[in-house]
Amino acid sequence: MANKSAEHSHFPWKHIVGFALSIVLTLLALWVAVYTDLSSSAKLWIIFGFAFIQAALQLLMFMHMTESENGGIQVGNTLFGFFGAIVIVLGSIWIFAAHYHHGDHMDGNPPGGAEHSEHSGHNE
């Protein structure tokens, strides 16, 4: 929090770097998703990995999430938000994995189920 005024009269390096990185990541993600022939799951991991990195960039470089006396709260709050987001999205997908095939796979082991279960396991 100290020497703010000094820091801020400088050139906005943080912003420029963040901006450049986000452009690079966007283009890379597009390239991976559309113009390569990696396996679907590899693509998914990569593009969502990039998305999370970009989100972190915005939060840290542009939104100054960690700054001010409340930085800790802001970070904790955002992380809990992401925890909720992951639980809701992956949880729903996992639950409905058994229903995608119109109930034909009711043998307790729907395709992809096991993989997803690992994901939600990590979120506790």
């Binding site: 109930g103 009711m106 307790g108």
Partner: protein, 321 residues
């Protein structure tokens, strides 16, 4: 004395009520009176859990009573036990964290085992070919189709004993739940979905089955009888039905799609050649439209059946409102 009574009151009330119900009520607790292997597994699990729960409740109640009696404020008569400095006790806290953890583990293991085993045909008869029955809920009736026998029944179900029944559960409209307590737990019936459930009866008899999931106005009446009969009786019923009962025409089936109660019906063909509700979620809605049924708010003065042409199956006593 009065204090002791007060402190013990919850306990007394509970004990009293329990006695009353164990004597009077439990004898017809259908869930705990299983007539087949599936319900039996569940009933065993329930009894096991009740045991653990009674233990927990017992511990808490005893502690509760002792503490209340011992540390109540006796005006003026200080027995020297008061000690406001206590703020915790690591050993005790570990004890009442670890014991519940152990109990949860002890309950989880059989729970998970049962969950997995209920997905399959019952162990005892697993080498017998299951009888396949399509159970379809339509507001407010149950349609049972026997594809191999080419038979369809409405609002009742005949099954052979000692043979697993593989239900293919689905719904034509709202989300219902197929439940025959004495044969086993329920599963939802949903349009556009086909779900498997194994049930089995071990004893000849008539059991009650119903929709357990709220589906609107006449939900309470969406019940059916399950007649568990010997394999021989079942086969002769099949033969008789195939010979004597009428065929199910598409027109008749469409009329069944109307939201109302009907009596028990029997046909010598199934609706499966017209529609698979497990694939087609919209069939019933379209049939209603075709027949001129118009859904209205319950407070509307319009009769939803106003424009409906034919109405063969309407239950005779279903005239209220």
């Amino acid at each position: 004395m009065i204090f002791l009574f007060r402190a013990l009151k919850p306990l007394l009330v509970l004990a009293l009520l329990t006695v009353v119900f164990v004597l009077g009520g439990c004898s017809n607790a259908s869930v705990l009176d299983p007539k087949g292997p599936v319900a039996e597994q569940q009933s065993d699990l329930i009894l096991l859990s009740i045991g653990f729960m009674l233990f927990i409740v017992g511990v808490v109640f005893v502690l509760f009573t002792i503490i209340l009696v011992k540390y109540r404020d006796r005006k003026g008569k200080d027995n020297g036990s008061y000690n406001p400095e206590i703020h915790g006790n690591t050993f005790l806290e570990v004890v009442w964290t670890v014991i519940p953890i152990l109990i949860v583990i002890a309950l989880s293991v059989p729970t998970v085992q049962t969950i997995y085993s209920l997905e399959k045909a019952p162990e005892a008869t697993k080498d017998k070919e299951p009888l396949v029955v399509y159970a379809t809920s339509v507001d407010w009736k149950w349609v049972f189709s026997y594809p191999e026998q080419d038979i369809e029944t409405v609002n009742y179900l005949n099954i052979p004993v000692d043979r697993p029944i593989l239900f293919k559960i689905s719904s034509a409209d709202s989300m219902a739940s197929l439940w025959i307590p004495q044969l086993g737990g329920q599963k939802y019936a949903m349009a556009g979905m086909l779900m498997d459930q194994y049930l089995q009866a071990d004893k000849v008899g008539t059991y009650e089955g119903r929709n357990a999931n709220f589906t609107g106005e006449h939900f309470a009446d969406q019940e059916f009888d399950v007649n568990a009969v010997t394999e021989k009786d079942f086969n002769s019923w099949v033969k008789k039905t195939q010979k004597e009962s009428p065929k199910l025409t598409k027109e008749k089936y469409d009329e069944l799609m109307l939201p109302e109660n009907v009596d028990e019906l029997t046909f010598s063909s199934t609706h499966l050649k017209y529609v698979d509700h497990g694939q087609d979620a919209e069939y019933a809605m379209e049939a209603r439209k075709r027949l001129g049924y118009q859904a209205v708010s319950p407070h509307s003065k319009t009769d939803p059946f106003e424009n409906v042409k034919k109405n063969e199956f309407k239950k005779s006593d279903d005239t209220e409102e």
